[in-house]
Amino acid sequence: MVIDMDFLNEVARDLPIIRPIKEFIHLNLLLPYQHLPFWEALDEVRTRFEAHPFSELEHYRKKIHDGDLPLPLLKKKLEALDGIDTDEAMKFIMEGHFEFIHHDSRMGMLHECWNELIGINIIELSDGMLIKWLSMFLDQGIGHWQMPESDEKRFYHCIQHLLNTGLVKPRPFTRKNLKTLFPASPEEAISRHLEFLCPDKELRKNYVIESIMTLRGWAGLIYNVQKAPHLLPFGRKIDLIDFLAVKLVLERAWIEQEMNSKETPQFPSRTELDRPNTANKKDFLAFRACQEALEEATYDKYIQSMISHPWPGKALPSIQAVFCMDDRETPLRRHLENASSRVETFGTPGHFGIDCLYHHPDDVFPKKQCPAPTPAKVLLKDVPLHYSGSRKDGKELHHKHNQPADNLIYDWFFSYLNAPASVLKLTRNMFFPLAFKSLENVQEVKLPNKLKVLNADSKREEKTGLPEGYTLDEMANLIFEQLQLIGFIHHFAPLVFILGHGSNSENNPYFATYGCGACSGRSGAANARAFVEMANNPQVRQLIKERHNLEIPHTTHFVACFHDTTRDTVEIYEMENVPVESLPDYHKFKKYLSLALYKNAKDRTKDFKLVTYQPVSKQAQKEVIRRSYSLFETRPELGHTGVAFSIAGRKEMQTGFIPGHPAFHQSYDPTIDPDGRLLTTILGALVPVCSGINLDYFFSRVDNLRFGAGSKLPQNIVGNFGVSHGTESDLLFGLPFQMIDQHQPLRLMVLVEQEPHIALSALQSNPMVRQIVYNSWLQYACYDYKTDKIYFFENGQMILKEKGQELL
């Protein structure tokens, strides 16, 4: 039997999708199981990973107690399930005791046999070494001294070279055993050592799977780096074969070192390994019913609230603003619209249709600024207006000494020199965080720069092979497409604000999770600026008018802004370009905006538990800003906590609101989309991104131990690309406990405003969307604006659900 890349690819299906931590992208943590229906996948996963993919029993009991989970509905759900007795299950749910014990995932059965034979935890020894070596090899700038030749050789050969050339061989290697341990190629090493480690041919595949799965995190990272090497700026050559080969070499070396005789362990038989699923099916079904009932009740509540809050209607807007559809922007939009009847807002994915790589002048490499599955189509460069060589900015100064200095003598001096400053900084940050804001801005774009968007002759950049901007034609198409998508083609106010969003927080390795999901976890400011640059171009407007018969009046001016979702502040770019006649409107908008931001901050502060006082607006904003500057704040913001709805439709649709469950709001006008073409485009971006966010939170919350990253407190940064618990643990994946502890796990409901047959046909053309919806990884529903009825997607059809009908 050969262990080749094909087999490893198959194994890699179960590996978590880990990217370097700065590239954090919310993904369905069970993405490899998305081809299965949701409940089947859960059933599969709970035995495979020994996970409990539901909330605790107490959570559901509390919901029943609070009336959020009506008992008749629960009964109905239980009755609909096969293989479970309703009364028994009800008794279990109400009074039963359920405890899920997680076992140590570091060890597999076959490895355990070796341990028992030798009497020492061999795997812990070899894994301890492997983890260190991997982190040293892959390091992205934390270590002062790079592993020799790590940028040329692949991992296996690099280690081999080091061991061969080293004058002293560390335990367990000796001059003698190196030759046999390290054959020329890693493939050879794998087959040679497997023969020794697992003499039973039948079990070899299991042994390999176990070996990889004991270090799931690292293997996951390596697999992803292997697929997309650009993820690591300092390129490294490594794949799963290297990883497996070195792991087996280490295991064998340690076993031979510690073994007294030539015994081989008694491996269990194949049948024992492939034990059928013995976990209690009944518990699973009971939990499933609870979850289903809770979801249905919440969806219903949302629809009720939508009906009971009709859209008041609006005067012609004098100010319009386009936001990201992100659930954190939704309340801000509501506050803004409440502030004045002349403000109109729209929601659309925060990259504003611009699939680009963005190159900041301070950066060496461009960064991707579009949804994760979409490839970048252009490269946008920021050109500094007055270039001043390499800038030393505040970031550099602020954090210069948070790492021991390169040189020992410097380190010695610094420990004298920096001691007072360190205490001062700490004290200041802890007691007066607002008085001294010495913080770096991770995601803001520093001006004055000029974004280069126009690229008339579609010149291509050499390294990336992408055009450096758009031609006028492309611009016109893009702008029209985007405006049409959100139904923004009727009335243009004199000022249109385009708000990208991002987040700044201190001492937070997970800062990228708070960024804009549509911009690969970065800030959407650059995209907003690019959009404005294009939309303000008179030639582009002319082309739009000629091609698409849409006239954007010359009095209309677009303005780019950046919303910091942690601090609730907005930065407005290039306000000097605002025409004089629009200035009154501009100032009005600023007033409304600051009012809305205060209100939003106030709402958010209520959710943070340490804040006990009823915050006055101003205080609330101080509080949220403090959170972003505090070194000790593990919850700078609550991110997408609680997100459960995604609404695509006109303003009339977006009035529903349930506390604790924010919604994504995408603007969409069904009346200009009779064939569902626009809806298809919208769903193509909305479904993967939103369900990715929702399911990332869902699984991290239900079983933080298996799918999440555990507590943030002991986490340690490894090589600038990952986090681990302590110094030599597996890489952590998923979301940390602090991000999800307030989350109430529900699957996403996507509600679109469209006729049922169009809503259904819009699912078909995109296979990914179809897969997610058909396998019920989310609930899909549509509101037929013509007949005023609501349809739910069930088993491939849209089923009518009477509006206003009490479900039970």
Binding site: H103, N418, T427, L610
Partner: protein
């Protein structure tokens, strides 16, 4: 003035209060903690002012004497410059860290436990810095070590954290033998508890007129003790393993306070070891070796906390060198600054990712690209060798492992028959001993050596060989009985101190035996995580452990101290053996506690 010292008890009381099984709000816990730090801090300022004012600085204060069986255990405080540096550092940093943790640990499950442990640690540090005698110093030292264990294993369900904590506690215990021996030898040299005031004011010639061998052993015992706590060669690897608890606890222990305790001990005992040329040189050499090894490892580390850990040990290596060269005041300044600096670095360590959003930032990218390392100038072979050794931690950990575990195994295997049936073994040994005694009225102390080696045998067996809790506890009891018997045989007058030791120990021994009987079927090679289910038993066992292993929480500590001191009059070898026995027995409890009540069960 003595009344001020009551303030220093506040952390202990608050810690005990928080350890009780009543849950309090986060706000209350933080306020209590801050009060329990601020009051002693004010106390220290007052003490300093009073001392400076009265001109009697540095000063010694006789606080109290605990009398047990016509033997006094004095509580003496000694305050000099170093005391106030360490005290001030302790209070300032713990205030900052507590404030930090208040927000950082918000909604964390072990919130109360964390603060309770931190307070216990602060009490240990206060005791250590104010201690006027070596014995009190040892008490504080033990508390620091134990709270360190508790915080490394803060995430009880993480098996790796627990085993790392256990490993580090092993090193602590091993090195603590040194300090225990030091305290005991001091007793013999000065015919009372080793008072730092006496040492510091002792003229050089007075030392040279003392027993030189004993002095030499004392020096090396002290050095041995500092190696563990201050993580010096060959133990300099453990701080990187210790970064398992929440970041603030790592910061205060391995960045700031605990890790400097060894340096502080050296400053305290400088008059003793500076008289001994070999010891002085040894300190310098240890410092240099640590500096060499950990500066290479520091360069190679690619996780930020590990890097800071090695940076800390290398700086402490420098402090050792400075000490051996005689720059005590410089060391004090260095220690103070270094503690503040490292504490800060650890606290902000998570921000390294954000600050290098950044590797792609031109400036930082260039800086990383242009990093210079002196080993790069060496020939490739040499360079690779250094890197290789650095990345395997110079095989230090595994070598120690090999030393501690492997040679014993074949020996145990061959003695399987005897080990398997300890009762038979005991009976046979007893009968043999009786026969020998009866036929040859030999000197009794030969018999006591026999028993002490038996005790050692049982101690090691209980820790390395026994896989069932009750078996291990049973062998622990045998070991206890054996060494008690041997001391009794050596000199019947030792009964007094034995009494002082045994009175608190026996009831707790019975409780521990009962608890281990309850869990007799669990295998100690695996983790069982019973702590959540059997909280009461877990906590009881913890208390038993603290009493039985001679933690300064009961009179057993005083008894142990007295016993060893009196033993030393009879035989130094015997004292050393019993000290080893005591230390090993202490380890056993940590092992049982960790395996039974912590961790996560393995797949079975």
């Amino acid at each position: 003035m003595k009344a001020i010292f009551l303030a220093y008890l506040l952390p202990l009381l608050s810690s005990a209060f928080l350890a009780l099984p009543f849950r309090h709000s986060e706000k209350f816990i933080t306020r209590l903690t801050i009060t329990s730090i601020v009051l002693p801090f004010l106390g220290s300022i007052l003490l300093l002012a009073l001392g400076l004012n009265s001109g009697s600085f540095p000063m010694e204060l006789n606080l109290a004497i605990v009398r047990i069986a016509d033997h006094g255990f004095p509580f003496i405080a000694w305050m000099d410059r170093a005391t106030f540096v360490i005290l001030g550092l302790t209070h300032i940093l713990s205030l900052l860290v507590v404030k930090y943790s208040h927000g950082y640990l918000h909604l964390e499950k072990g919130y109360q436990r964390f603060f309770s442990t931190i307070l216990f640690f602060i009490f240990g540090m206060e005791m250590l810095s104010l201690a006027g005698t070596m014995d009190l110093f040892f008490a504080g030292w033990e508390i620091v070590g134990f709270s360190s264990f508790l915080l490394i294993a803060f995430y009880r369900s993480h098996s790796r954290s627990v085993s790392n904590a256990w490993r580090i506690y092993n090193i602590y215990r091993f090195c603590d033998i040194g300090l225990l021996m030091g305290a005991v030898i001091g007793h013999q040299l000065w015919h009372e508890a080793t008072r730092f005031s006496v040492i510091s004011e002792m003229p050089a010639f007075a030392l040279s007129s003392m027993n030189q061998t004993a002095l030499g052993i004392l020096c090396f015992s002290i050095i041995c003790a500092t190696l563990g706590k201050s993580a010096q060669f060959p133990f300099h690897n453990w701080p990187s393993r210790a970064m398992e608890g929440p970041t603030p606890s790592s910061a205060i222990f391995y960045g700031a306070l605990s890790i400097h305790a060894g340096v502080f001990l050296l400053i305290r005992t400088k008059p003793i070891w500076s008289q001994n040329m070999a010891a002085t040189i040894l300190i310098g050499v240890i410092g240099f070796l640590t500096l060499f090894f950990s500066s290479i490892q520091r360069r190679i580390q690619t996780n930020i906390k590990g890097q800071i850990a090695f940076a800390s040990t290398s700086q402490i290596g420098i402090m050792f060198i400075e000490l051996s060269l005689g720059f005590t005041n410089l060391v004090l300044v260095h220690l103070f600054c270094h503690a503040l600096y490292r504490c800060f670095q650890l606290l902000v360590s998570p921000s390294i990712v954000a600050s290098s959003t950044s590797i792609t930032n031109k400036v930082i990218y260039a800086r990383i690209q242009n990093r210079k390392n002196w080993p790069d100038k060496l020939p490739a072979n040499w360079r690779n060798t250094l890197y290789l050794l650095g990345m395997t931690d110079f095989s230090m950990d595994v070598s120690w492992r090999g030393f501690g575990f492997i040679p014993w195994k074949p020996i145990y295997r061959k003695m399987k028959l005897l080990i398997g049936h300890p009762i038979i073994f005991l009976v046979v040994a007893g009968v043999l001993a009786m026969v020998i005694l009866w036929s040859h009225p030999v000197e009794e102390h030969i018999l006591s050596y026999f028993f002490v080696s038996l005790a050692l045998f049982f101690s090691f067996k209980s820790i390395f060989y026994n896989h069932r809790p009750f078996q291990a506890m049973r062998d622990f009891s045998f070991s206890l009985v054996c060494w008690v018997l041997s001391t009794y045989l050596l000199d019947h007058h030792l009964m007094h101190s034995l009494e002082a030791y045994l009175t608190p120990v026996l009831p707790f021994l019975i409780i521990a035996l009962v608890i281990s009987w309850n869990f007799r079927n669990y295998d100690l090679r695996n983790f069982h995580a019973l702590g959540t289910k059997h909280t009461l038993q877990a906590n009881l066992f913890m208390i038993c452990f603290m009493v039985l292993s001679g933690m300064p929480v009961s009179t057993a500590f005083v008894g142990e101290d007295m016993l060893l001191e009196e033993l030393l009059h009879h035989s130094s070898v015997m004292t050393a053996l019993i000290a080893i026995c005591l230390m090993v027995n202490g380890l056993l409890f940590v092992k049982i506690y960790g395996r039974l009540f912590m961790g996560r069960p393995a797949i079975k």
